[in-house]
Structure formats: structure tokens, C-alpha cells
């Protein structure tokens, strides 16, 4: 089956529950196809959790949800060994992290200690509990949601942890027409809000990944990527530029994006499309630059030459 068809059906399926957010849904899928973890950031009630649930359902993965609170401990996520009196031995009770898709709700409500417990799992695909390293099931995704940092009762994620999320998405308010449709549906209780159908199985996921690995990135395109990265490191507006990991993330996402559109090669439009989601949370404006991450991405998109000399 054509990749595009699979993806279109998945997008349509998720679009049933999250109205008017097609670009974000596509980016979220792109992130998961590129084997990355996804961070969704927005104000409460914008559909963060809805999106993550829908993604889990569409991919048909085993998933667990952890609501992060300020008193959550690492053991609550990773698991704990309990003494079994009958067998006179310790039994490991795996935590919710032993799943294919972990929904970490409101990740910035918990303490840095618990946040960093996720770190190893996200980076290595394994966890170490009580000195023993245990592999996590494959595939393993983390979809985390968080409230904007300036909200009270939050512990901002450190840059090192932000960097481990391949993409950060912001949902924003729905367009008026989509919001109207949402209101009408709630009004007419007749239309049941149905759970999204499972439409991408593991084989198809694998097929997409193979397709992604075959996408060609030409010299010209890599030049453009390098110019982008160099710009963030040299220009005065940036306190911190893109790391080599950031550059790799950008390439991976652009390739995935190209594959999702049935193209065998990456074009600059792919890079530009994924750029805000991939680079936005990795760039820090310098002290006297008035703009935020969005403005920085905008600078990149406008000022970095695509054609080169």
C-alpha cells in the first residue's frame, strides 16, 4: 500500500477527534515515524491529551499514561522490587514505562529528579533500576505534554532534556469553523465521539521506516542544512545554537517528511516545514534579543540562503 494513503487515513482518523489540526497531526506522525519522542506544549484544554491518545490508538500500540504530579517519584514510573515472603526473594514490579507508548501528561509539573528518570529511557531505550539494566519494549515512544513554563507550579525542563525530544508541537486554538463543529457535535449527543480506529500496524510502521531510510538528501540540501546550523551558531540573536544532535534531528525529520509525501529526495520545503517543530525548543535567544523561539525560527527561515553560492 502507498505510504501516503496509509498516512492520509491515519490523519483522517485522528482528525475525527482533534478537529482542524491537520498540520500538527502530520508533524506528530512524522516525529513518531522518525523514531523520536514528542513534546506537546500548550495551555490547558487545547487538546494535548486528546492528540496523544489518538496517536496511540491509531498506531495500535500498547500504551500507558502517567499523570505527572509534584510528588511523583522515579520508582512510580520505572518500577520497584517488592519482597515476596513466600519465595523469600525480591520480585521486580515493572512500572508504567514498560510499554510501547508512554503518555507523560504535564511532565513539567513533577520535580527535576523524576523528569530525569525519563532521560535514560528516552535516550537509550532501556532503564536501570536497582543496578540492573532492563530493556524496554520496541518500539518505544514518549509523548509528553506540558503547560507553558510561565504557568505556576511548573518545573521547566532542562535544556538537556528538551533536546531529547525530537519535536515540540504547539497546538494553538482551533480555527473557528473547526471549533463550531466541535460545539455542534457536543450539542447533538447523537453523534458519539468514537475512539480512533487502529490503522497503522507494526509492519506498516516498519515499511515507512525503510522508506525513510532510502530518502536521498543531496549535497545541495546538506549545504543548506549546514548553513542553517552555522547561522544559529554565528548570529548575535542566538544565545545557544543548534547542536549536532539538533542538525541530525532536522535531517531525520526532513527525510521522514519527504517519505510521508512519497518523495525519494528531500527538498528545502521539507526542511522549512519541520523546522519550527524541530528547532523551536532547541534555540535560546540571546539576552538582548527581544524575540522568542518562534522569532528565531522565523529569522532562520527568512535569512538563511537556500540556493547558496
Amino acid at each position: 500500500m502507498q505510504i501516503q494513503v496509509i498516512i492520509d487515513s491515519a490523519v483522517e482518523e485522528i482528525g475525527q477527534t482533534l478537529l482542524g489540526k491537520e498540520p500538527q497531526i502530520r508533524l506528530a506522525l512524522c516525529c513518531l515515524f522518525a523514531r523520536g519522542h514528542l513534546l506537546i506544549e500548550d495551555l490547558p484544554g487545547m487538546g494535548k491529551t486528546t492528540l496523544s491518545h489518538a496517536l496511540a490508538a491509531v498506531l495500535g500500540l500498547s500504551w500507558k499514561r502517567v499523570q505527572f504530579t509534584s510528588d511523583l517519584l522515579p520508582a512510580d514510573i520505572l518500577g520497584v522490587s517488592v519482597f515476596d515472603a513466600n519465595k523469600s526473594s525480591f520480585n521486580f514490579h515493572p512500572g508504567p514505562i514498560f510499554t510501547q507508548l508512554l503518555l507523560a501528561d504535564e511532565i513539567n509539573r513533577t520535580t527535576p529528579r523524576t523528569q530525569s528518570a525519563l532521560l535514560e529511557a528516552m535516550a537509550e531505550g532501556q532503564v536501570t533500576v536497582e543496578g540492573e539494566t532492563r530493556p524496554l519494549p520496541q518500539p518505544f515512544f514518549v509523548i509528553a505534554t506540558q503547560n507553558p513554563i510561565h504557568q505556576s507550579g511548573t518545573y521547566p525542563l532542562p535544556e538537556s532534556q528538551l533536546d531529547r525530544f525530537l519535536m515540540r508541537l504547539e497546538l494553538g486554538y482551533p480555527p473557528p469553523r473547526a471549533e463550531r463543529e466541535m460545539l455542534e457535535r457536543r450539542h447533538s449527543a447523537a453523534l458519539e465521539i468514537k475512539q480512533p480506529r487502529h490503522c497503522i500496524d507494526l509492519d506498516q510502521l516498519e515499511m515507512i521506516r525503510v522508506a525513510v531510510s532510502q530518502v536521498h538528501a543531496s549535497e545541495n540540501l546538506l549545504d543548506y542544512l549546514q548553513r542553517l546550523v552555522a547561522y544559529t551558531r554565528q548570529s548575535a540573536e542566538f544565545e545557544v545554537g543548534l547542536s549536532p544532535r539538533g542538525a541530525l534531528a532536522l535531517l531525520d525529520c526532513a527525510k521522514t517528511w519527504a517519505a510521508m509525501h512519497n518523495r525519494g529526495h528531500v527538498v528545502p520545503e521539507d526542511v522549512q516545514f519541520v523546522l519550527p517543530a524541530v528547532a523551536g525548543h532547541r534555540l535560546i535567544p540571546s539576552g538582548d534579543y527581544a524575540g522568542d523561539g518562534h522569532a528565531l525560527v522565523d529569522l532562520l527561515q527568512r535569512n538563511v540562503d537556500i540556493v547558496g553560492s
Binding site: 536521498h216 543531496s218 549535497e219 545541495n220 540540501l221 549545504d223 549546514q226 548553513r227 552555522a230 548575535a236 540573536e237 544565545e239 525519494g264 529526495h265 528531500v266 527538498v267 528545502p268 520545503e269 522549512q272 540571546s286 539576552g287 538582548d288 534579543y289 532562520l300 527561515q301 527568512r302 535569512n303 538563511v304 540562503d305 537556500i306 540556493v307 547558496g308 553560492s309
Partner: protein, 679 residues
């Protein structure tokens, strides 16, 4: 305003520091109101930075500029000359601070700063001044570095470090340029220092002149002997010969006073080994030079006058070095011309009757001219004459009578003047010689430092078969002055440099201070010989000693070659820089396409992808849409698609692309719109 155009706070602080650093060496020469202007400008700019005040409006600026001009004219009385022009430049520099809002203003200000840094050399080329100039260059460079570092909103001393490292890297080039850069003559002349006083001796002498000169501890000149330094009492540095007396004032003969046949000095038969030495004059704004009798110089610009003194045809405006050979024992001008005899025995017709009478009596008694000289000196020695810096006032009329018979207190010029008067009164040719006597021997580098307080006046008497003979009446009265110098001679009176409390020469009795002073002086000597005195002649000699005879062509090759040698490592390191992108021919062709589209007044933004650009152009000019998309698709294909999978080889594809672009020749925007309007 983009952040790139802003001036970071760190840079502003450094700009203000460099402002003060640059005006400081001029401070003593400037009227006080210019310094006040600097304070006002800085405060104003800081208030602007804090957001309290705003930049001055146009009319305020015009008023400030005009009042600057008026102020200069009021303070200096002219706009011409070095000091008013430098002052004007400094005013402009301060006022530019009030326009400092963008980075480009800072460029103007700082590059002007480098120029201002140079202007201090117009006043002095002293070692300390040079060291200070290096400091100010570093500060200005620091400010220049700081404006290129946006986002530094705190004062950072580390910027200084960066600038220092940069300047140190420039050091090799500086040294190469110093030795090899051609020394041109001045390309233009400015009336330099028309407001600066002339220093040292003047070409006339009235009682009190030398005494007032001896209140100064400034250095007159330095001498380096090739061999042993002669004893101090033999160091009579002849500068001026004063042959004419009018109303008690001795003056030198000017060029126009001499008859044509007297212009050249008489030939002197020299014999024996000369004393050879180099003299480095401090600037005097005068022409005369100093040497031991009988002096000849082989420096090109030193000339000899008919009274055997040395002089320079141009004013000594900077440190000036010349070489002298002296034969101290040879007779000079053995035969005296009639004109010379008349001139050197001339006295005013009347006045000082008692002196004239005494003179004739003594001549009668002596029998010969030589004995007469001894008799007069004996009289100075026996009678209670006092050598003093505080001789008291003498009457205008018959001042020599008053000095010889009543006050009997005087300084060297009194004794020399009275002695020569007595000689001439008896018909013996005699004249006053003004110059310096003795000097301080610097043990550090074996030079003789002659200060202004070594100024002296003595006499020369012409004796048959011996020529002009030096006679110093002061030596008869105060042998200490000649043996040990003025300080010893005035020890009991306590009047040595009494008005110069801060002069280091006054504290010669403190060993450590004295050693420091002498060391610094030795350094100054070296500086003057090797750096300030490094002119085209020395440069040429140096090159010749290394490379043999040099032609202009060889010199040019050497110059360029050495630059290349210094710059080569820099170039290599730049070439090895890893992040230089190769030029992609495809991009070059695409840029040609973009240039063609510029005729339609459509410019691709840097971040605009080729497809987006094509879309935009096609919407506005649908006529070209087909060609546009053909080119854009081809470009996208070649630039981004997998080359291995696409058909044809790379070179052919590129050629094809170039051909397609070559066929695309859009008309000018106006032409297209015109045809559209006609339709």
C-alpha cells in the same frame, strides 16, 4: 533597529574610555573649555543611554559646531596652524559622541580616534609618548572589538585581552613595516607650532638671559663620543657668536651683515686625530647647532658659518642628529681680514667711560695683547667679584661701569660681556660666544647630557699667530662652575633650579632617583638614534649592510616579499579553515536566472525556496509561468533529487540547465506592464 546595528553597553563604555585616553595627552595644550566639552558630551551620551535625555536636535548640533569654531578662534586667534587644527579635530571628536547611535557612527568615531592618536606625535616623539600611543591604540581597538560583540550588556575587561592579542599578532608586520617602509619626505607642510615658544639660546644676549635659561632642567642636546669623553672643563659647546653690541645687548651678525667675500669661513689647517661625536638636538625652533671648536660636520644638512659655528639651514623642529669632528688645538683664522678686525673691535661711540679708561691703562701696563688678557683675568680673580644667579639690577646707562666698579656681582654673561668690552676698548679683537658648558655624563650609556642650565657665555680673543683663543672670565671667578657645573657653583647660594621643584634633575643627590633618571635618559638616547632618527639614509645603509647595493627594484621586492612572509601564515591558516563551502556550478547558474528576474523587479528572498519564488513570479507574470516552472523543476531535480537515479550524467545535465537559463530572457518590468496595458 536590528541588534546588529546597536552599540552594546560594553562597547559604549570602551568608546568613552578611549575618548578620554585620546584627549589626555593633549590636555595640557588645550583650553579648559574643550575639556569641559568632553565631560558634557560624555554625560549627555550616558544620559541618552539611560533613556533620560534624547540625542541633540539638528539646531542644537549646528549651534554647538559654530560655537566650537568661535571658541577656537577666541582661544588661538587663528584657524591655521597645528594647535588650533588639532583642537578643532578634538572638538569634532567629542561632538560626534552625541551622534553615536548606530554601529556605523561608532566606526567613524573610532577610526577618527586612530587618527587623533597620531596627532600627539606632531608635538612630541618622546619614548613615553610612543608607549602611551600604544596604550591608546589598544584601547581604541578594544572598543572596535566590543562593537562587534552584540549582546554584551556588561562592561567586560576581557575585551581588552582580545584586542591585545590581536595587536600582538600585528606586531611582526609592524616591525617589518618600520624597517622597510619607504621614508618619504614630507608630502605637505603645515605651519607647525606657530604658537610654541622657541627654546634655548636666542641670537642676542642681554644681562639676565643666560641666568633665566639656567632655571630650566630641560635637555638641550645629548652627545655620544666615539672615544673617551674629554674632561668636563674642556666641553665648551659653541653655539652662537655675538659680535655686535648695541645699547648693552650683544647680538649675532645676520647673513645680510656680512660682505660677500666674508661669507665663507677661512680655511683651517687641520692636524692630528679629531674628537668624533654625535649630537642629538632636542627641537628648538632655531637654526644653530652646537660643537666643540674647531668643529666640522659630515652630516649633509649641517653648514659652517664664517665665524666657525655650525648651523642648519632649516629650523630644528624635531629631534635632529648630526655627526661632528672637532680639532680642539688647531689655530682658527690665523690672519684676520680688515673687515673682521673692524667688526670685532667695534664699540658704541660713548658710554662706560671708566671701563674704557681702565682698559687702556691695563693695556699700557701689559705690553702685549696676551699679557693684557691675563692682566684682566687677574683683576677678576683678585678683586671681590661674586659669581651669582642673583646679581641684582644694573642701570641702563653705563651698565658695565656699574657692574665692574660697584655691584661686582654677576653671572657668566656679565663677565663675558664686560671682558669683551674691555678687550675691544683697548683695540683687541674679541667677541662673546654663547652656548653650553660641561654637561652631565650618563654612566649608563656613556653619553653627555647637556641641560638648559648648562647654558654659558664666554669670550674669544684674537691673538696674532694663535687665531681665536677661548677665554672664560667665569673660570677665573668661579672655577667650580667649569669643573663641576652650575649645581656645585650655586651650592652655597641654594639657587640651583630653585623654581623647578618637580624637576628630576633637582634631586640628583638621591642615588636611586638619579639612577632611574639616567637610565631613562639612556633609553631616550637609544630611542632617538634608532627609532626617531631612522630616516631614509639610515634605512638605506641598513639595507646595504645586509643585502649589498640595493636598487629601487630590489627594495620593492624585499618590501613585498617580507610582507608576504609575514602574511603567509595568516593566509595559510585562512585557507585551511574547514567551513568554506565549495562553489556549486548549479547554484551559479540559478543565480544568473535570479539576476534575469531582477529585471522584473522581483528579488528572491534568501529563505524563499525556488518553488515558492517561481510561484510568486508566475502569479504576477503569468506569461512567463511555463518557462519559470520548467527551469524551477529542472533546478529542483538537479539540486535535490538523487543523481544516481536521474537520467543522464551530471555534466550534461548542468549544460542543459545552463542552456535553458540562457534562453530565458524576460523583458523589463516596465516593458511588460506596458504591453499588458496596450492589450
Amino acid at each position: 533597529m536590528s541588534t546588529l546595528q546597536q552599540i552594546p553597553r560594553n562597547a559604549l563604555v570602551w568608546i568613552i574610555i578611549s575618548l578620554f585616553a585620546l584627549v589626555a595627552p593633549h590636555a595640557s595644550r588645550l583650553p579648559i573649555w574643550i575639556l569641559a566639552l568632553y565631560a558634557v558630551a560624555v554625560i549627555w551620551r550616558l544620559q541618552v543611554h539611560r533613556g533620560r535625555w534624547s540625542f541633540p536636535g539638528r539646531w542644537v548640533k549646528v549651534v554647538m559646531i559654530l560655537s566650537g569654531f568661535v571658541g577656537i578662534y577666541a582661544s588661538y586667534g587663528s584657524f591655521v596652524g597645528l594647535e588650533p587644527t588639532v583642537a578643532l579635530l578634538l572638538i569634532a571628536f567629542a561632538l560626534k559622541l552625541l551622534e553615536l547611535s548606530h554601529r556605523k557612527d561608532a566606526y567613524v568615531l573610532l577610526f577618527l580616534g586612530y587618527f587623533i592618536c597620531l596627532t600627539q606625535f606632531l608635538f612630541s616623539q618622546d619614548l613615553l609618548v610612543t608607549l602611551y600611543a600604544l596604550v591608546s591604540v589598544t584601547v581604541v581597538t578594544t572598543a572596535l572589538v566590543a562593537i562587534h560583540r552584540p549582546g554584551e550588556h556588561q562592561f567586560k575587561l576581557g575585551t581588552l585581552h582580545v584586542a591585545s592579542v590581536m595587536l600582538l599578532q600585528a606586531l611582526p608586520l609592524m616591525i617589518v613595516l618600520f624597517f622597510l617602509f619607504p621614508r618619504f619626505g614630507p608630502l605637505w607642510t603645515v605651519p607647525i607650532k606657530n604658537h610654541t615658544a622657541k627654546t634655548g639660546m636666542s641670537d642676542f644676549m642681554k644681562p639676565g638671559d643666560v641666568a633665566s635659561l639656567s632655571q630650566s632642567a630641560d635637555v638641550a642636546f645629548r652627545v655620544k663620543f666615539d672615544g673617551e669623553i674629554p674632561v668636563k672643563s674642556a666641553l665648551y659647546w659653541r653655539g652662537l657668536v655675538l659680535s655686535r653690541i648695541e645699547q648693552g645687548v650683544w647680538s649675532a651678525l645676520s647673513f645680510y651683515d656680512l660682505p660677500a667675500n666674508q661669507l665663507r669661513p677661512q680655511e683651517v689647517i687641520i692636524g692630528g686625530e679629531p674628537i668624533r661625536y654625535n649630537v642629538i638636538m632636542e627641537p628648538t625652533q632655531q637654526r644653530w647647532l652646537y660643537g666643540l671648536k674647531y668643529a666640522r660636520s659630515d652630516t649633509r644638512t649641517v653648514m659652517q658659518a664664517s665665524d666657525f659655528r655650525l648651523f642648519s639651514p632649516t629650523l630644528i623642529e624635531t629631534e635632529f642628529m648630526y655627526t661632528v669632528d672637532s680639532w680642539t688645538d688647531v689655530p682658527v683664522e690665523e690672519t684676520l681680514s680688515d673687515w673682521r678686525r673692524t667688526t670685532e673691535t667695534q664699540l658704541p661711540p660713548t658710554g662706560n667711560a671708566k671701563t674704557r679708561k681702565l682698559s687702556l691703562e691695563l693695556r699700557e701696563e701689559a705690553g702685549s695683547n696676551a699679557a693684557f688678557v691675563d692682566l684682566v683675568l687677574d683683576r677678576f680673580r683678585v678683586e671681590p667679584y661674586v659669581y651669582t644667579l642673583r646679581p641684582g639690577l644694573l642701570p641702563e646707562e653705563d651698565s658695565i661701569d656699574a657692574f665692574l666698579f660697584q655691584s661686582q656681582r654677576g653671572f657668566c654673561e656679565h663677565y663675558a660681556s664686560a671682558f669683551v668690552f674691555m678687550m675691544r676698548a683697548a683695540g683687541v679683537p674679541a667677541r662673546v660666544v654663547a652656548g653650553y658648558q660641561g654637561g652631565e655624563i650618563n654612566p649608563v650609556n656613556k653619553t653627555v647630557i647637556v641641560h638648559q642650565f648648562d647654558a654659558h657665555a664666554w669670550a674669544e680673543v684674537w691673538l696674532a699667530s694663535r687665531g681665536w683663543v677661548r677665554v672664560d672670565p667665569t673660570a677665573a671667578i668661579s672655577p667650580l662652575r667649569i669643573e663641576f657645573g652650575l649645581e656645585e657653583a650655586m651650592a652655597s647660594e641654594g639657587s640651583f633650579l630653585s623654581a623647578m621643584l618637580l624637576s628630576p634633575a633637582r634631586y640628583r643627590s638621591i642615588p636611586l632617583l638619579n639612577l632611574l633618571r639616567l637610565r631613562y635618559d639612556a633609553l631616550t638616547y637609544r630611542w632617538q638614534t634608532w627609532v626617531v632618527g631612522f630616516d631614509s639614509e639610515r634605512q638605506f645603509n641598513l639595507l646595504r649592510s645586509f643585502f649589498g647595493e640595493t636598487t629601487a627594484k630590489a627594495f620593492a621586492i624585499l618590501l613585498l616579499g617580507s610582507w608576504a612572509l609575514v602574511l603567509l601564515p595568516v593566509a595559510i591558516s585562512l585557507f585551511r579553515a574547514p567551513d568554506i563551502e565549495p562553489v556549486r556550478p548549479l547554484a551559479k547558474h540559478y543565480r544568473i536566472f535570479c539576476k534575469r528576474l531582477a529585471r522584473l523587479d522581483l528579488i528572491r528572498g534568501a529563505g524563499e525556496t525556488p518553488s515558492q519564488f517561481a510561484q510568486r513570479v508566475a502569479e504576477e507574470f503569468p506569461d512567463y509561468a511555463e518557462q519559470l516552472w520548467q527551469i524551477t523543476d529542472l533546478y529542483n531535480q538537479l539540486a535535490y533529487a538523487d543523481a544516481q537515479r536521474s537520467a543522464g550524467n551530471a555534466a550534461q545535465n548542468l549544460q542543459h540547465f545552463a542552456r535553458v537559463i540562457n534562453r530565458f530572457r524576460p523583458k523589463r518590468r516596465s516593458a511588460v506592464l506596458m504591453t499588458r496595458a496596450e492589450r
